[in-house]
Symmetry: C2
Subunit: 325 residues, 2 copies
């Protein structure tokens, strides 16, 4: 039985849930692939490497620890993608496989990182960066072969979706934010969501991977919901519509464009039924028309599953000899 050594950077709820899931499935994985997994480093910002030195930081571990796969789960900086990008570069330059749940690197440096992985004969996987473990990148990669993605659109930010839904009920913004924080839908600082930066990061990640764009989030035409008032919501309702923060990406004259903006969505339209923390993504391709995938009310297990499924993929690729190290 081979053992795959894991170094995990960041150990919040998702990291813990992933570790639990991996333990729960240890027997099944051993049986399927004759493989076991061992955490050699788990790094948190305040405590260093929980399995090593408290002085070791994430970048120290990425650069120096003896691992096979780096699990990058540090907090997102959607403006720069750092420090996750540096962690990933450190691992890939050493020929180590990388799994990230952080959309920053995909939105800021996808092409560079993917190329680096290819040149070093290792895997760089990131299924969890958009819609948690919902197969999006793998769906297109595995099951839509020879299809060209021509357009993507969706509702990808649950905080703004939640806020708009509460506004429909007539609650004022400050009360919604307070309530949202209490139940965990809303971040301490919700501006990244409200002003559409999170959505812009997600659509950029999608466009970089699925449409071969080489974009950063600041190139997305972005408008958040910060100016939406109750009057706007009532106006939409009087026209049989809801307001939703919609992400879109498309190709025009050979160039890829991204947009995030609040839109009037008719009540009879699919997108109007996406509430709370659910997300929806439509992918239009030349050969398979428009496919839409919905993730309903995800929980932390779905994030953990995304990382888990990437790890399974790495094991399978090595088994098939697709990747030679």
């Amino acid at each position: 039985m081979q053992t795959i050594k894991l170094a995990m950077l960041g150990y919040g709820n998702a990291g813990k849930a992933f570790k639990d899931l991996l333990e729960e499935k240890a027997e099944a994985l051993a049986e399927a692939y004759d493989t076991s997994f061992e955490f050699v480093s788990i790094v948190t910002k305040s405590k260093g490497d929980l399995l090593g030195s408290p002085n070791d930081t994430a970048i120290d571990v990425a650069q120096n620890a003896d691992y096979d796969v780096l699990i990058e789960l540090t907090p997102l900086n959607i403006m720069t993608g750092q420090p996750a990008i540096s962690h990933i570069e450190a691992a890939l330059s050493r020929g180590k496989d990388v799994i990230t749940a952080n959309k920053g690197p995909i939105a800021h440096a996808y092409k560079r990182l993917a190329k680096m992985a290819q040149q070093n004969g290792c895997s760089f996987l990131y299924e969890t960066t958009v819609m948690d473990g919902t197969p999006i990148f793998n769906l297109v990669h595995d099951t839509l072969k020879f299809c060209m993605v021509t357009e993507v659109s969706g509702i990808l930010n649950s905080t703004t979706n939640f806020i708009l839904e509460e506004m429909e009920k007539g609650f004022p913004m400050d009360q919604i934010l307070e309530q949202g924080r209490a139940i965990g839908f809303v971040e301490a600082d919700p501006l990244m969501d409200i002003e559409g930066y999170d959505s812009a990061g997600k659509i950029t990640a999608l466009l970089n991977v699925l449409m071969d764009a080489e974009m950063t989030p600041d190139q997305v035409d972005r408008k958040g919901i910060e100016e939406i008032s109750y009057k706007d919501i009532k106006d939409a309702a009087s026209k049989g519509c809801k307001i939703k923060l919609v992400c879109k990406g498309w190709r025009e004259h050979g160039k890829v464009y991204g947009r995030v903006a609040p839109e009037y969505i008719p009540l009879t339209h699919l997108y109007s039924t996406i509430n709370g923390t659910s997300s929806i993504l439509s992918i239009t391709t030349d050969l398979m028309g428009k496919l839409t995938i919905i993730e309903e009310d995800p929980e932390i297990l779905q994030t953990a599953y995304g990382v888990f499924s990437d790890l399974v993929r790495i094991v399978e690729m090595e088994e098939d000899g697709v990747i030679e190290e």
Copy 2:
């Protein structure tokens, strides 16, 4: 460059579109896999083997022709799955790969055929049998590994979906059927659709593959839309609902159950927005919660793509050495 020899049984719109697509992508396939494709038999009911003898029937070709992959596209008999099952058995028993777009064999004999394929070291693929080329079976197989499917539900029959939509507008059934036939939404004999047999076949196929059921369509608790009146539709509307023909499957005390029945769907629910020829399928798993996939307004190209994607899969599996013949 290797050449893969194809025998195609049935040559209607889907078969023609598949052949066109394969020709269109010939260069890309040659480049990707160093493989070309050659049709050695194309059998129609009235003209025999268009590339061989007019006396050769589908079963003759399945049993005797010199092919590598059988493409089974003969018309569906949802009551028995025949003659498609016999064609497939003939091919598999000779160690030939099989692709079918016919749900009959999956709804009536999935387990037997899958086992036969395994024993003979060949592939048996059927992505097109539910929702055309929309990745359903491949989605679960490739991207939801280690997930257990606990429930499926959906709207899978476009004819009844179309009829119910027209009934909402107040048109009488006979007029709807006539109009539907004219635009091709409704079969010459629409009873298989209206009485829910087609839906029962699809849910059975899904349950056999995704939930390891060993069912036939007659074991599905089936109710069609034949008794739905305009009054029922108005009654539903007065309660803020539409009527949709919903398929469901679930596990209870270790046994798998299937049901097809008209249901009241609230206008705020996702399923109420699925109109015309669009379909929707929700798959609930232990690890990834509920995922929903929608195919909007499919055309014949989407059916062709399903068969094409199965063929690509066979080439890739052989490349990876997963299947040894």
